[in-house]
Subunit: 191 residues, 2 copies
C-alpha cells in the first residue's frame, strides 16, 4: 500500500470517529470525507460499505480503550483515584460512548470476528477496572460496569453544541458530578 494512501485511510477513520459521534451513526458519508480532507471516492475505495467504515472505527476505538484500561489497571496500585479519573477522561476523549449503540445493537452477531474479539477483550478489561475501583472505594459496590459506561455515553454525546459556549466546560462538570455520585462515601441511593 502506498504511503499517502495509508495516510488518507487513517484520516478517514479518525474523521469518521468524530463525525459519527457528533452526528449519529447515519451521518452523511460526504461529511466524513470532507472532514478527512479527502474525496468521497477515496472513502468508498477504502470502505465499500458504511459498515466497513464503522467497523474500522470500532476496532480502533476499542483497541485504544482497551489499552487505556490496561494502563489504568496497572496504575491503580499506586494512585487509584488518579488512574480511575484519567481512564474516564480517556474514554470520553476516545468517544467510547458513541460506540455503545453499534456494539450492543441486536445485530451485533453480524460484527466481524475481529471486532467481536477486541470488543470482548476491552469489555473484560474495563469490567476488571471497575471492580478494582470498587475495591479501592472509588465506586459504590451496587453499580455494574455497563451502567457507568452508559452514563458516560449519555453525558458526553454531543447534544447542543452552543450550550457549551453559554456554560463553559459543562460536560467535564457533569462527568465529575456523576463520578462524585458513584462514590460510596456519599449518601446511599434512594431505593
Amino acid at each position: 500500500m502506498r504511503a499517502d494512501a495509508a495516510r488518507r485511510r487513517e484520516a478517514l477513520i479518525l474523521a469518521a470517529r468524530d463525525v459519527l459521534a457528533e452526528r449519529g451513526h447515519d451521518a452523511p458519508l460526504d461529511a466524513i470525507a470532507e472532514r478527512a480532507g479527502v474525496g468521497i471516492a477515496t472513502l468508498y475505495r477504502n470502505f465499500p460499505t458504511r459498515d466497513d467504515l464503522a467497523h474500522a472505527v470500532a476496532r480502533r476505538t476499542l483497541t485504544e480503550a482497551g489499552a487505556a484500561a490496561e494502563h489504568a489497571l496497572a496504575a491503580m496500585a499506586s494512585d487509584p483515584e488518579r488512574a480511575w479519573t484519567e481512564f474516564v477522561g480517556t474514554a470520553v476523549r476516545l468517544r467510547l460512548g458513541a460506540l455503545i449503540p453499534a456494539l450492543i445493537v441486536e445485530s451485533y452477531r453480524e460484527l466481524p470476528g475481529d471486532v467481536l474479539e477486541v470488543r470482548e477483550d476491552t469489555k473484560a478489561r474495563v469490567t476488571e477496572l471497575v471492580h478494582t475501583a470498587q475495591r479501592a472505594g472509588l465506586v459504590r459496590d451496587d453499580v455494574q460496569p455497563i451502567e457507568v459506561i452508559m452514563a458516560i455515553a449519555r453525558l458526553t454525546r454531543p447534544h447542543v453544541q452552543f450550550v457549551d459556549e453559554v456554560v463553559p466546560a459543562l460536560v467535564p462538570r457533569m462527568i465529575a458530578i456523576y463520578l462524585a455520585g458513584l462514590r460510596p462515601d456519599g449518601r446511599p441511593l434512594p431505593h
Copy 2:
C-alpha cells in the same frame, strides 16, 4: 370546535412530545400522526408547520413543568428531599430535557410571545427551586440550575432503547447517582 377534533388535537400534542423526544426535533411528521392514531392530514390541519406543533408541545410541557416546580417549592418547607427528587422525576416524565435545544437555540427570539413568556416563568421557578434545594443542603452551591437541567436532559434522552431491557431501570439509576453527586456532603469536585 367539535369534541372529537379537540381530542385528536390533544393526542397529537402528546404524541409529538414523545416522538420528538425519542427521535429528535426533525422526526418525520408521519411518525407523530401514526403514534397519535390519526391521519397525516389531521396533523397538518391542526398544525400547518412543524414549528406550530413544536410550539404547542413547548407550551404544554413548560406549563406543566412550571406547575410542578411551584408545587415542589411549596413542599420544600416540609420535606425538601422528597420535594426535590419528586420534581426531578416529574421533569423526566415530562421530557423537559428534550425541549432544551428548542428553547436555547439561537433562533429562540423567533419563539411566539406566549411560549417565550411561559418559558421565562418556568425558568424562574426552576431556578428558585434549585436555590432552595441548595439552601436545604441537597445541592452543592457551585452548580447552576442550567447545569442540572442539561444533565437531566442528557441522562434521560432516549438513546438505545433496548439497553433498558438488558439493564433494567438504567435511567432512574443514572439520575439517582447524578443527584447523589450533586449533594454537597460528597467529596468536592475535582477543580
